[in-house]
Protein backbone atom coordinates (compact mmCIF):
# COMPACT_ATOMS: atom_id res chain seq x y z
CA UNK A 1 0.00 0.00 0.00
CA UNK A 2 2.76 2.41 0.95
CA UNK A 3 4.32 2.30 -2.53
CA UNK A 4 1.25 4.10 -3.84
CA UNK A 5 2.67 7.25 -2.24
CA UNK A 6 4.72 7.61 -5.45
CA UNK A 7 1.52 7.96 -7.48
CA UNK A 8 0.16 10.36 -4.86
CA UNK A 9 3.28 12.51 -5.32
CA UNK A 10 2.70 12.64 -9.10
CA UNK A 11 -0.93 13.67 -8.62
CA UNK A 12 -0.16 16.21 -5.88
CA UNK A 13 2.68 17.75 -7.88
CA UNK A 14 0.38 18.00 -10.88
CA UNK A 15 -2.34 19.72 -8.85
CA UNK A 16 0.14 22.08 -7.18
CA UNK A 17 1.58 22.93 -10.64
CA UNK A 18 5.14 22.02 -9.65
CA UNK A 19 7.56 21.35 -12.50
CA UNK A 20 6.97 17.70 -13.60
CA UNK A 21 10.69 16.89 -13.84
CA UNK A 22 11.10 17.59 -10.14
CA UNK A 23 7.85 15.77 -9.28
CA UNK A 24 8.84 12.63 -11.21
CA UNK A 25 12.25 12.43 -9.58
CA UNK A 26 10.73 12.80 -6.10
CA UNK A 27 8.00 10.27 -6.93
CA UNK A 28 10.63 7.74 -8.00
CA UNK A 29 12.67 8.14 -4.81
CA UNK A 30 9.53 7.99 -2.65
CA UNK A 31 8.42 4.80 -4.40
CA UNK A 32 11.81 3.15 -3.98
CA UNK A 33 12.11 4.09 -0.32
CA UNK A 34 8.55 3.12 0.63
CA UNK A 35 8.98 -0.23 -1.15
CA UNK A 36 11.84 -0.94 1.24
CA UNK A 37 9.80 -0.15 4.34
CA UNK A 38 9.25 -3.24 6.48
CA UNK A 39 9.30 -4.07 10.17
CA UNK A 40 12.86 -3.89 11.51
CA UNK A 41 14.28 -1.83 8.62
CA UNK A 42 16.30 1.08 10.03
CA UNK A 43 16.83 4.58 8.65
CA UNK A 44 20.22 3.75 7.18
CA UNK A 45 18.74 0.92 5.13
CA UNK A 46 16.04 3.28 3.87
CA UNK A 47 18.68 5.83 2.87
CA UNK A 48 20.49 3.08 0.98
CA UNK A 49 17.21 2.19 -0.76
CA UNK A 50 16.92 5.84 -1.81
CA UNK A 51 20.41 5.82 -3.35
CA UNK A 52 19.72 2.48 -5.04
CA UNK A 53 16.52 3.89 -6.51
CA UNK A 54 18.41 6.90 -7.86
CA UNK A 55 20.86 4.48 -9.52
CA UNK A 56 18.02 2.36 -10.96
CA UNK A 57 16.38 5.55 -12.22
CA UNK A 58 19.70 6.57 -13.79
CA UNK A 59 20.05 3.23 -15.54
CA UNK A 60 16.52 3.47 -16.96
CA UNK A 61 17.20 7.09 -18.00
CA UNK A 62 20.27 5.97 -19.92
CA UNK A 63 18.33 3.15 -21.61
CA UNK A 64 15.68 5.61 -22.76
CA UNK A 65 17.92 8.15 -24.46
CA UNK A 66 16.46 7.32 -27.86
CA UNK A 67 13.63 9.85 -27.36
CA UNK A 68 16.19 12.56 -28.17
CA UNK A 69 16.98 11.32 -31.68
CA UNK A 70 13.88 13.10 -33.01
CA UNK A 71 15.40 16.48 -32.05
CA UNK A 72 17.90 16.00 -34.89
CA UNK A 73 15.21 17.37 -37.16
CA UNK A 74 15.26 20.80 -35.47
CA UNK A 75 18.34 22.24 -37.26
CA UNK A 76 16.89 21.26 -40.66
CA UNK A 77 13.47 22.71 -39.90
CA UNK A 78 15.01 25.87 -38.41
CA UNK A 79 17.17 26.33 -41.50
CA UNK A 80 14.18 25.96 -43.83
CA UNK A 81 12.08 28.32 -41.70
CA UNK A 82 14.89 30.83 -42.03
CA UNK A 83 14.44 30.54 -45.79
CA UNK A 84 10.66 31.07 -45.61
CA UNK A 85 9.19 27.54 -45.33
CA UNK A 86 6.18 28.64 -43.25
CA UNK A 87 5.50 31.58 -45.55
CA UNK A 88 5.67 29.29 -48.58
CA UNK A 89 3.21 26.85 -46.97
CA UNK A 90 0.76 29.72 -46.51
CA UNK A 91 1.19 30.94 -50.10
CA UNK A 92 0.63 27.43 -51.44
CA UNK A 93 -2.63 26.91 -49.60
CA UNK A 94 -3.89 30.39 -50.51
CA UNK A 95 -3.85 29.27 -54.15
CA UNK A 96 -6.34 26.49 -53.41
CA UNK A 97 -9.66 28.32 -53.51
CA UNK A 98 -11.85 25.76 -51.77
CA UNK A 99 -9.42 25.23 -48.90
CA UNK A 100 -10.62 26.06 -45.40
CA UNK A 101 -8.80 25.33 -42.18
CA UNK A 102 -11.27 22.57 -41.25
CA UNK A 103 -11.25 20.86 -44.65
CA UNK A 104 -7.47 21.03 -44.81
CA UNK A 105 -7.13 19.44 -41.38
CA UNK A 106 -9.78 16.85 -42.32
CA UNK A 107 -7.67 15.74 -45.28
CA UNK A 108 -4.57 15.73 -43.07
CA UNK A 109 -6.42 13.57 -40.53
CA UNK A 110 -7.28 11.05 -43.24
CA UNK A 111 -3.74 10.96 -44.64
CA UNK A 112 -2.21 10.72 -41.15
CA UNK A 113 -4.50 7.82 -40.16
CA UNK A 114 -3.96 5.91 -43.40
CA UNK A 115 -0.16 6.33 -43.44
CA UNK A 116 0.06 5.44 -39.72
CA UNK A 117 -2.01 2.33 -40.40
CA UNK A 118 0.63 1.36 -42.95
CA UNK A 119 3.35 1.85 -40.33
CA UNK A 120 4.52 5.17 -41.77
CA UNK A 121 4.20 6.99 -38.45
CA UNK A 122 7.27 9.16 -39.02
CA UNK A 123 5.60 10.93 -41.97
CA UNK A 124 3.95 13.33 -39.51
CA UNK A 125 4.91 14.76 -36.13
CA UNK A 126 5.01 18.16 -34.47
CA UNK A 127 8.52 19.47 -35.15
CA UNK A 128 8.73 18.13 -38.68
CA UNK A 129 5.18 18.55 -40.01
CA UNK A 130 2.79 20.51 -37.77
CA UNK A 131 4.90 23.56 -36.95
CA UNK A 132 6.48 24.14 -40.35
CA UNK A 133 3.66 22.98 -42.65
CA UNK A 134 0.25 21.93 -41.31
CA UNK A 135 -0.40 24.83 -38.91
CA UNK A 136 0.80 27.55 -41.33
CA UNK A 137 -1.32 26.03 -44.10
CA UNK A 138 -4.42 25.91 -41.90
CA UNK A 139 -3.77 29.50 -40.79
CA UNK A 140 -3.21 30.49 -44.41
CA UNK A 141 -6.54 29.00 -45.44
CA UNK A 142 -8.33 30.92 -42.68
CA UNK A 143 -6.46 34.11 -43.65
CA UNK A 144 -7.88 33.82 -47.17
CA UNK A 145 -11.37 33.49 -45.66
CA UNK A 146 -10.71 36.47 -43.41
CA UNK A 147 -9.28 38.53 -46.25
CA UNK A 148 -6.25 39.43 -44.16
CA UNK A 149 -4.90 38.98 -40.68
CA UNK A 150 -6.57 36.67 -38.19
CA UNK A 151 -7.57 37.65 -34.66
CA UNK A 152 -5.07 36.07 -32.23
CA UNK A 153 -7.74 33.95 -30.58
CA UNK A 154 -8.63 32.20 -33.85
CA UNK A 155 -4.99 31.87 -34.86
CA UNK A 156 -4.14 30.00 -31.66
CA UNK A 157 -7.30 27.87 -31.87
CA UNK A 158 -6.22 26.78 -35.36
CA UNK A 159 -2.73 25.93 -34.15
CA UNK A 160 -4.08 23.87 -31.24
CA UNK A 161 -6.45 22.05 -33.59
CA UNK A 162 -3.58 21.34 -36.02
CA UNK A 163 -1.51 19.66 -33.30
CA UNK A 164 -4.61 17.80 -32.03
CA UNK A 165 -5.36 16.47 -35.50
CA UNK A 166 -1.82 15.13 -35.89
CA UNK A 167 -2.05 13.30 -32.53
CA UNK A 168 -5.51 11.85 -33.15
CA UNK A 169 -4.57 10.70 -36.66
CA UNK A 170 -1.45 9.01 -35.30
CA UNK A 171 -2.99 7.34 -32.23
CA UNK A 172 -6.02 5.91 -34.01
CA UNK A 173 -4.14 4.81 -37.10
CA UNK A 174 -0.92 3.26 -35.82
CA UNK A 175 -2.53 0.35 -33.96
CA UNK A 176 -3.86 -1.03 -37.24
CA UNK A 177 -0.26 -1.68 -38.26
CA UNK A 178 0.93 -5.04 -36.98
CA UNK A 179 4.53 -4.13 -36.15
CA UNK A 180 3.95 -1.03 -34.00
CA UNK A 181 5.22 -0.81 -30.42
CA UNK A 182 1.86 -1.09 -28.69
CA UNK A 183 0.92 -4.26 -30.60
CA UNK A 184 4.29 -5.81 -29.76
CA UNK A 185 3.70 -4.92 -26.10
CA UNK A 186 0.25 -6.54 -26.09
CA UNK A 187 1.45 -9.75 -27.79
CA UNK A 188 4.29 -10.04 -25.28
CA UNK A 189 2.05 -9.32 -22.31
CA UNK A 190 -0.59 -11.87 -23.34
CA UNK A 191 2.09 -14.46 -24.05
CA UNK A 192 3.37 -14.07 -20.48
CA UNK A 193 -0.19 -14.62 -19.29
CA UNK A 194 -0.35 -17.84 -21.32
CA UNK A 195 -2.58 -16.49 -24.09
CA UNK A 196 -1.18 -16.70 -27.63
CA UNK A 197 -2.56 -14.15 -30.10
CA UNK A 198 -1.27 -13.11 -33.50
CA UNK A 199 -0.48 -9.41 -34.02
CA UNK A 200 -3.06 -9.34 -36.82
CA UNK A 201 -5.82 -10.49 -34.42
CA UNK A 202 -5.12 -7.43 -32.30
CA UNK A 203 -4.70 -4.94 -35.10
CA UNK A 204 -8.01 -5.71 -36.85
CA UNK A 205 -9.86 -4.78 -33.66
CA UNK A 206 -8.29 -1.32 -33.80
CA UNK A 207 -10.24 -0.64 -36.99
CA UNK A 208 -13.71 0.10 -35.47
CA UNK A 209 -12.19 2.70 -33.12
CA UNK A 210 -10.16 4.17 -35.99
CA UNK A 211 -13.35 4.68 -38.02
CA UNK A 212 -15.11 6.20 -35.01
CA UNK A 213 -12.16 8.54 -34.40
CA UNK A 214 -12.28 9.73 -38.01
CA UNK A 215 -16.05 10.31 -37.83
CA UNK A 216 -15.91 12.15 -34.48
CA UNK A 217 -12.88 14.33 -35.08
CA UNK A 218 -13.79 14.85 -38.75
CA UNK A 219 -17.22 16.15 -37.76
CA UNK A 220 -15.59 18.46 -35.23
CA UNK A 221 -13.24 19.80 -37.89
CA UNK A 222 -16.16 20.66 -40.18
CA UNK A 223 -17.91 22.37 -37.26
CA UNK A 224 -14.62 24.16 -36.60
CA UNK A 225 -14.95 25.91 -39.99
CA UNK A 226 -18.31 27.26 -38.87
CA UNK A 227 -16.79 28.48 -35.61
CA UNK A 228 -14.10 30.34 -37.56
CA UNK A 229 -16.69 31.84 -39.96
CA UNK A 230 -18.83 33.01 -37.07
CA UNK A 231 -15.88 34.54 -35.22
CA UNK A 232 -14.78 36.36 -38.37
CA UNK A 233 -18.31 37.61 -39.01
CA UNK A 234 -18.54 38.87 -35.44
CA UNK A 235 -15.28 40.74 -35.91
CA UNK A 236 -16.34 42.44 -39.14
CA UNK A 237 -19.67 43.38 -37.55
CA UNK A 238 -17.75 44.99 -34.72
CA UNK A 239 -15.47 46.79 -37.16
CA UNK A 240 -18.52 48.07 -39.08
CA UNK A 241 -20.08 49.80 -36.11
Amino acid sequence: MLVLLGIAVVVAGFVARINPLLVILIAAIVTGVTAAVAPGVDVRALARAGVDTLAAFGDAFNDNRYFHITWLVLPVIGLLERAGLQERARMLIAQVRVATAGRLLLSYLLVRQLTSALGLTSLGGHPQMVRPLVAPMAEGAAEVQAGGDLPDKIRFRIRGMSAATDNIGLFFGEDIFIAIGSIVLMVGFLEQAGIIVEPLQLSVWAIPTAIAAFAIHGARLLLFDREIRRALAARSAEAGQ
Binding site: L4, G6, I7, V10, N19, P20, L21, L25, A27, A28, T31, G32, A35, L54, A55, A56, F57, G58, D59, A60, F61, N62, N64, R65, F67, H68, W71, V73, G78, L79, L80, R82, G84, L85, E87, R88, S122, H126, M129, V130, R131, R159, G160, M161, A163, N167, I168, F171, G181, S182, M186, F189, A193, V197, Q201, L202, T209, A212, A213, I216
Partner: protein
Protein backbone atom coordinates in the same frame (compact mmCIF):
# COMPACT_ATOMS: atom_id res chain seq x y z
CA UNK B 1 26.63 -0.68 -39.69
CA UNK B 2 24.92 2.38 -38.25
CA UNK B 3 23.66 1.69 -34.73
CA UNK B 4 21.86 3.57 -32.02
CA UNK B 5 25.24 4.52 -30.49
CA UNK B 6 26.20 6.46 -33.62
CA UNK B 7 22.90 8.32 -33.51
CA UNK B 8 23.52 9.16 -29.83
CA UNK B 9 26.95 10.61 -30.66
CA UNK B 10 25.36 12.81 -33.32
CA UNK B 11 22.62 13.99 -30.94
CA UNK B 12 25.26 14.61 -28.25
CA UNK B 13 27.33 16.75 -30.60
CA UNK B 14 24.23 18.73 -31.56
CA UNK B 15 23.41 19.45 -27.90
CA UNK B 16 27.06 20.33 -27.29
CA UNK B 17 26.74 22.88 -30.12
CA UNK B 18 23.57 24.29 -28.51
CA UNK B 19 25.39 24.57 -25.17
CA UNK B 20 28.45 26.35 -26.61
CA UNK B 21 26.43 28.82 -28.64
CA UNK B 22 24.17 29.52 -25.66
CA UNK B 23 27.25 30.20 -23.53
CA UNK B 24 28.47 32.71 -26.11
CA UNK B 25 25.07 34.44 -26.38
CA UNK B 26 25.37 37.40 -24.01
CA UNK B 27 21.71 38.39 -24.61
CA UNK B 28 20.38 35.05 -23.29
CA UNK B 29 18.35 35.60 -20.11
CA UNK B 30 19.50 32.34 -18.47
CA UNK B 31 22.79 31.98 -20.31
CA UNK B 32 24.80 29.84 -17.86
CA UNK B 33 21.90 27.69 -16.65
CA UNK B 34 20.63 26.92 -20.18
CA UNK B 35 24.17 26.19 -21.42
CA UNK B 36 24.71 23.75 -18.53
CA UNK B 37 21.31 22.13 -19.11
CA UNK B 38 21.96 21.42 -22.81
CA UNK B 39 25.58 20.58 -22.00
CA UNK B 40 24.57 17.90 -19.49
CA UNK B 41 22.18 16.36 -22.03
CA UNK B 42 25.18 16.27 -24.39
CA UNK B 43 27.19 14.47 -21.67
CA UNK B 44 24.37 11.95 -21.23
CA UNK B 45 24.16 11.28 -24.97
CA UNK B 46 27.93 11.02 -25.47
CA UNK B 47 29.09 9.29 -22.28
CA UNK B 48 25.90 8.05 -20.54
CA UNK B 49 26.84 4.38 -20.89
CA UNK B 50 30.14 4.96 -19.04
CA UNK B 51 28.63 6.81 -16.08
CA UNK B 52 26.93 3.86 -14.41
CA UNK B 53 23.53 3.99 -12.69
CA UNK B 54 24.46 6.29 -9.83
CA UNK B 55 26.48 8.57 -12.13
CA UNK B 56 23.46 8.95 -14.37
CA UNK B 57 21.29 9.48 -11.29
CA UNK B 58 23.51 12.37 -10.16
CA UNK B 59 23.41 13.77 -13.70
CA UNK B 60 19.60 13.71 -13.53
CA UNK B 61 19.68 15.49 -10.15
CA UNK B 62 21.76 18.24 -11.76
CA UNK B 63 19.45 18.43 -14.81
CA UNK B 64 16.37 18.72 -12.60
CA UNK B 65 18.06 21.40 -10.46
CA UNK B 66 18.94 23.38 -13.60
CA UNK B 67 15.69 23.00 -15.51
CA UNK B 68 13.04 22.04 -12.97
CA UNK B 69 13.35 24.69 -10.26
CA UNK B 70 13.25 27.90 -12.27
CA UNK B 71 12.20 28.67 -15.82
CA UNK B 72 14.79 28.43 -18.60
CA UNK B 73 14.96 31.44 -20.90
CA UNK B 74 14.62 31.42 -24.67
CA UNK B 75 17.54 32.68 -26.75
CA UNK B 76 16.97 34.96 -29.70
CA UNK B 77 19.86 34.25 -32.09
CA UNK B 78 19.92 36.59 -35.09
CA UNK B 79 17.90 35.20 -37.97
CA UNK B 80 16.22 36.43 -41.17
CA UNK B 81 13.47 39.08 -41.11
CA UNK B 82 9.88 38.42 -42.14
CA UNK B 83 10.46 40.37 -45.38
CA UNK B 84 13.52 38.29 -46.22
CA UNK B 85 11.54 35.12 -45.54
CA UNK B 86 8.66 36.20 -47.77
CA UNK B 87 11.13 37.15 -50.51
CA UNK B 88 12.90 33.82 -50.24
CA UNK B 89 9.57 31.95 -50.25
CA UNK B 90 8.52 33.70 -53.48
CA UNK B 91 11.92 33.18 -55.11
CA UNK B 92 12.49 29.55 -54.15
CA UNK B 93 8.87 28.44 -54.63
CA UNK B 94 7.77 24.94 -53.66
CA UNK B 95 11.32 23.57 -53.82
CA UNK B 96 11.49 24.69 -50.18
CA UNK B 97 9.40 21.66 -49.26
CA UNK B 98 11.87 19.17 -50.71
CA UNK B 99 14.43 19.10 -47.84
CA UNK B 100 11.56 18.91 -45.32
CA UNK B 101 10.17 15.88 -47.14
CA UNK B 102 13.58 14.16 -47.40
CA UNK B 103 13.45 13.49 -43.64
CA UNK B 104 10.29 11.34 -43.50
CA UNK B 105 11.00 9.72 -46.85
CA UNK B 106 14.45 8.53 -45.75
CA UNK B 107 13.02 7.51 -42.35
CA UNK B 108 10.35 5.34 -43.97
CA UNK B 109 12.50 4.20 -46.90
CA UNK B 110 15.41 3.34 -44.61
CA UNK B 111 13.17 1.34 -42.27
CA UNK B 112 11.68 -0.64 -45.13
CA UNK B 113 15.10 -1.18 -46.71
CA UNK B 114 16.60 -2.42 -43.44
CA UNK B 115 13.78 -4.96 -43.11
CA UNK B 116 13.55 -6.17 -46.67
CA UNK B 117 16.92 -5.70 -48.41
CA UNK B 118 20.41 -7.02 -47.71
CA UNK B 119 22.06 -3.64 -48.26
CA UNK B 120 19.62 -2.00 -45.88
CA UNK B 121 20.13 -4.65 -43.22
CA UNK B 122 23.90 -4.22 -43.61
CA UNK B 123 23.65 -0.43 -43.33
CA UNK B 124 21.15 0.06 -40.49
CA UNK B 125 20.97 -1.84 -37.20
CA UNK B 126 17.80 -3.83 -36.53
CA UNK B 127 17.15 -2.26 -33.12
CA UNK B 128 15.27 1.07 -33.24
CA UNK B 129 15.64 1.04 -37.03
CA UNK B 130 13.12 3.82 -37.63
CA UNK B 131 14.85 6.23 -35.28
CA UNK B 132 18.25 5.56 -36.84
CA UNK B 133 16.77 6.03 -40.32
CA UNK B 134 15.15 9.25 -39.10
CA UNK B 135 18.54 10.52 -37.93
CA UNK B 136 20.02 9.58 -41.30
CA UNK B 137 17.23 11.50 -43.04
CA UNK B 138 17.94 14.57 -40.91
CA UNK B 139 21.63 14.52 -41.87
CA UNK B 140 20.93 14.14 -45.59
CA UNK B 141 18.26 16.86 -45.50
CA UNK B 142 20.64 19.15 -43.62
CA UNK B 143 23.41 18.61 -46.17
CA UNK B 144 20.97 19.26 -49.04
CA UNK B 145 19.67 22.43 -47.38
CA UNK B 146 23.18 23.73 -46.61
CA UNK B 147 24.40 23.19 -50.17
CA UNK B 148 21.29 24.76 -51.67
CA UNK B 149 20.57 27.67 -49.32
CA UNK B 150 24.21 28.55 -48.45
CA UNK B 151 23.39 30.07 -45.02
CA UNK B 152 26.11 31.11 -42.53
CA UNK B 153 27.98 27.99 -41.35
CA UNK B 154 26.58 28.12 -37.81
CA UNK B 155 22.99 28.84 -38.92
CA UNK B 156 21.65 25.27 -38.44
CA UNK B 157 22.94 25.11 -34.86
CA UNK B 158 21.64 28.61 -34.11
CA UNK B 159 18.20 27.86 -35.59
CA UNK B 160 18.13 24.50 -33.83
CA UNK B 161 18.98 26.20 -30.55
CA UNK B 162 16.12 28.67 -31.07
CA UNK B 163 13.65 25.78 -31.47
CA UNK B 164 15.20 23.70 -28.68
CA UNK B 165 14.94 26.64 -26.27
CA UNK B 166 11.24 26.97 -27.08
CA UNK B 167 10.76 23.28 -26.17
CA UNK B 168 12.84 23.70 -23.00
CA UNK B 169 12.62 21.24 -20.09
CA UNK B 170 9.71 19.39 -21.73
CA UNK B 171 12.35 17.70 -23.90
CA UNK B 172 13.28 15.53 -20.92
CA UNK B 173 9.76 14.59 -19.76
CA UNK B 174 9.15 11.43 -21.85
CA UNK B 175 12.52 10.00 -20.82
CA UNK B 176 11.87 10.83 -17.14
CA UNK B 177 8.41 9.21 -17.24
CA UNK B 178 9.81 6.07 -18.84
CA UNK B 179 12.39 5.87 -16.03
CA UNK B 180 9.66 6.38 -13.41
CA UNK B 181 7.80 3.51 -15.07
CA UNK B 182 10.86 1.29 -14.54
CA UNK B 183 10.95 2.19 -10.83
CA UNK B 184 7.19 1.53 -10.51
CA UNK B 185 7.68 -1.86 -12.14
CA UNK B 186 10.47 -2.80 -9.74
CA UNK B 187 8.33 -1.80 -6.74
CA UNK B 188 5.26 -3.68 -8.10
CA UNK B 189 3.07 -0.59 -7.98
CA UNK B 190 0.87 -2.20 -10.62
CA UNK B 191 0.01 -5.17 -8.45
CA UNK B 192 -0.98 -2.95 -5.56
CA UNK B 193 -3.14 -0.69 -7.76
CA UNK B 194 -4.92 -3.73 -9.16
CA UNK B 195 -5.68 -5.08 -5.72
CA UNK B 196 -7.06 -1.73 -4.67
CA UNK B 197 -9.31 -1.26 -7.71
CA UNK B 198 -10.83 -4.71 -7.44
CA UNK B 199 -11.56 -4.13 -3.77
CA UNK B 200 -13.26 -0.78 -4.47
CA UNK B 201 -15.31 -1.73 -7.56
CA UNK B 202 -17.56 -4.80 -7.36
CA UNK B 203 -17.17 -6.59 -10.69
CA UNK B 204 -20.72 -7.84 -10.73
CA UNK B 205 -21.53 -7.46 -14.43
CA UNK B 206 -19.62 -7.48 -17.74
CA UNK B 207 -20.59 -3.84 -18.32
CA UNK B 208 -19.13 -2.76 -14.99
CA UNK B 209 -15.91 -4.67 -15.63
CA UNK B 210 -15.56 -3.15 -19.13
CA UNK B 211 -16.21 0.35 -17.78
CA UNK B 212 -13.75 -0.10 -14.89
CA UNK B 213 -11.05 -1.41 -17.25
CA UNK B 214 -11.45 1.34 -19.88
CA UNK B 215 -11.73 4.16 -17.33
CA UNK B 216 -8.78 2.72 -15.38
CA UNK B 217 -6.69 2.64 -18.56
CA UNK B 218 -7.56 6.26 -19.37
CA UNK B 219 -7.05 7.50 -15.82
CA UNK B 220 -3.74 5.74 -15.22
CA UNK B 221 -2.55 6.98 -18.62
CA UNK B 222 -3.41 10.54 -17.58
CA UNK B 223 -1.20 10.10 -14.51
CA UNK B 224 1.68 8.32 -16.22
CA UNK B 225 1.46 10.24 -19.51
CA UNK B 226 1.76 6.99 -21.43
CA UNK B 227 -0.69 4.20 -22.26
CA UNK B 228 2.19 1.73 -22.45
CA UNK B 229 2.81 2.20 -18.71
CA UNK B 230 -0.89 1.83 -17.87
CA UNK B 231 -1.53 -1.25 -20.01
CA UNK B 232 0.32 -3.96 -18.04
CA UNK B 233 -1.02 -2.59 -14.74
CA UNK B 234 -4.70 -2.30 -15.65
CA UNK B 235 -4.85 -5.38 -17.86
CA UNK B 236 -3.32 -7.57 -15.17
CA UNK B 237 -5.60 -6.01 -12.55
CA UNK B 238 -8.99 -5.87 -14.33
CA UNK B 239 -8.77 -6.75 -18.02
CA UNK B 240 -7.58 -10.35 -17.77
CA UNK B 241 -9.09 -11.52 -14.45
CA UNK B 242 -12.54 -9.98 -14.90
CA UNK B 243 -13.38 -8.94 -18.46
CA UNK B 244 -11.66 -12.01 -19.93
CA UNK B 245 -11.53 -14.53 -17.06
CA UNK B 246 -14.83 -14.07 -15.26
CA UNK B 247 -17.07 -12.90 -18.10
CA UNK B 248 -15.42 -14.66 -21.05
CA UNK B 249 -14.37 -11.68 -23.18
CA UNK B 250 -12.13 -12.27 -26.20
CA UNK B 251 -8.62 -11.33 -24.99
CA UNK B 252 -7.49 -9.90 -28.35
CA UNK B 253 -10.48 -7.55 -28.53
CA UNK B 254 -10.27 -6.58 -24.87
CA UNK B 255 -6.56 -5.72 -25.10
CA UNK B 256 -6.74 -3.94 -28.45
CA UNK B 257 -9.62 -1.70 -27.42
CA UNK B 258 -8.29 -1.29 -23.87
CA UNK B 259 -5.06 0.13 -25.28
CA UNK B 260 -7.07 2.56 -27.42
CA UNK B 261 -9.01 3.65 -24.32
CA UNK B 262 -5.59 4.45 -22.84
CA UNK B 263 -4.76 6.54 -25.93
CA UNK B 264 -7.85 8.65 -25.13
CA UNK B 265 -6.16 9.36 -21.79
CA UNK B 266 -2.95 10.38 -23.58
CA UNK B 267 -4.92 13.06 -25.43
CA UNK B 268 -6.04 14.60 -22.12
CA UNK B 269 -2.82 14.91 -20.11
CA UNK B 270 0.07 17.38 -20.01
CA UNK B 271 2.22 14.48 -18.76
CA UNK B 272 2.27 13.24 -22.37
CA UNK B 273 4.75 16.00 -23.08
CA UNK B 274 5.91 15.00 -26.53
CA UNK B 275 2.34 14.95 -27.85
CA UNK B 276 0.69 17.75 -25.86
CA UNK B 277 3.32 20.10 -24.42
CA UNK B 278 6.06 20.10 -27.06
CA UNK B 279 3.65 21.17 -29.84
CA UNK B 280 2.14 23.89 -27.61
CA UNK B 281 5.66 25.23 -27.09
CA UNK B 282 6.63 24.85 -30.74
CA UNK B 283 3.46 26.62 -31.89
CA UNK B 284 4.02 29.37 -29.29
CA UNK B 285 0.53 29.07 -27.82
CA UNK B 286 -0.04 31.75 -25.15
CA UNK B 287 -1.42 29.17 -22.69
CA UNK B 288 1.39 26.64 -23.27
CA UNK B 289 2.31 26.49 -19.58
CA UNK B 290 -1.19 25.79 -18.30
CA UNK B 291 -2.29 22.22 -17.49
CA UNK B 292 -5.12 22.43 -20.03
CA UNK B 293 -3.24 24.10 -22.86
CA UNK B 294 -4.69 24.83 -26.30
CA UNK B 295 -3.65 21.45 -27.73
CA UNK B 296 -5.30 19.47 -24.92
CA UNK B 297 -8.45 21.61 -25.05
CA UNK B 298 -8.70 20.96 -28.79
CA UNK B 299 -8.41 17.21 -28.12
CA UNK B 300 -10.67 16.94 -25.10
CA UNK B 301 -14.09 16.57 -26.80
CA UNK B 302 -12.79 13.98 -29.27
CA UNK B 303 -11.03 12.07 -26.47
CA UNK B 304 -14.07 11.95 -24.17
CA UNK B 305 -16.53 10.87 -26.87
CA UNK B 306 -14.07 8.29 -28.16
CA UNK B 307 -13.54 6.88 -24.67
CA UNK B 308 -17.30 6.25 -24.46
CA UNK B 309 -17.24 4.72 -27.93
CA UNK B 310 -14.39 2.40 -26.90
CA UNK B 311 -16.35 1.16 -23.91
CA UNK B 312 -19.42 0.56 -26.08
CA UNK B 313 -17.32 -1.22 -28.71
CA UNK B 314 -15.62 -3.46 -26.16
CA UNK B 315 -18.96 -4.33 -24.56
CA UNK B 316 -20.57 -5.01 -27.92
CA UNK B 317 -17.69 -6.98 -29.51
CA UNK B 318 -15.66 -8.74 -26.81
CA UNK B 319 -18.40 -11.11 -25.66
CA UNK B 320 -19.67 -11.88 -29.18
CA UNK B 321 -16.55 -12.90 -31.11
Amino acid sequence: MITLEHAYILVGLMFLGFAILTLRDSDHSTRIRSALFWGLIAVSMLFGSYLGGLGNGLLILALVALGGLKKLGVGQPSTTTLEERRGSAIRRRNALFIPALIVPLIAVGGTLAAKHTDVGAWLISSTQTTLIALGLGCILALIAAMVWLRPPVMAPVQEGRRLMDSIGWAALLPQMLASLGAVFLAADVGGVVGELVTRAVPMSSPLLAVAAYCLGMALFTVIMGNAFAAFPVMTAAIGLPFVVGQFGGNPAIVCAIGMLAGFCGTLMTPMAANFNVVPANLLELPDRNSALNGVIRAQLPTALILLGVNMALMYALAFRF
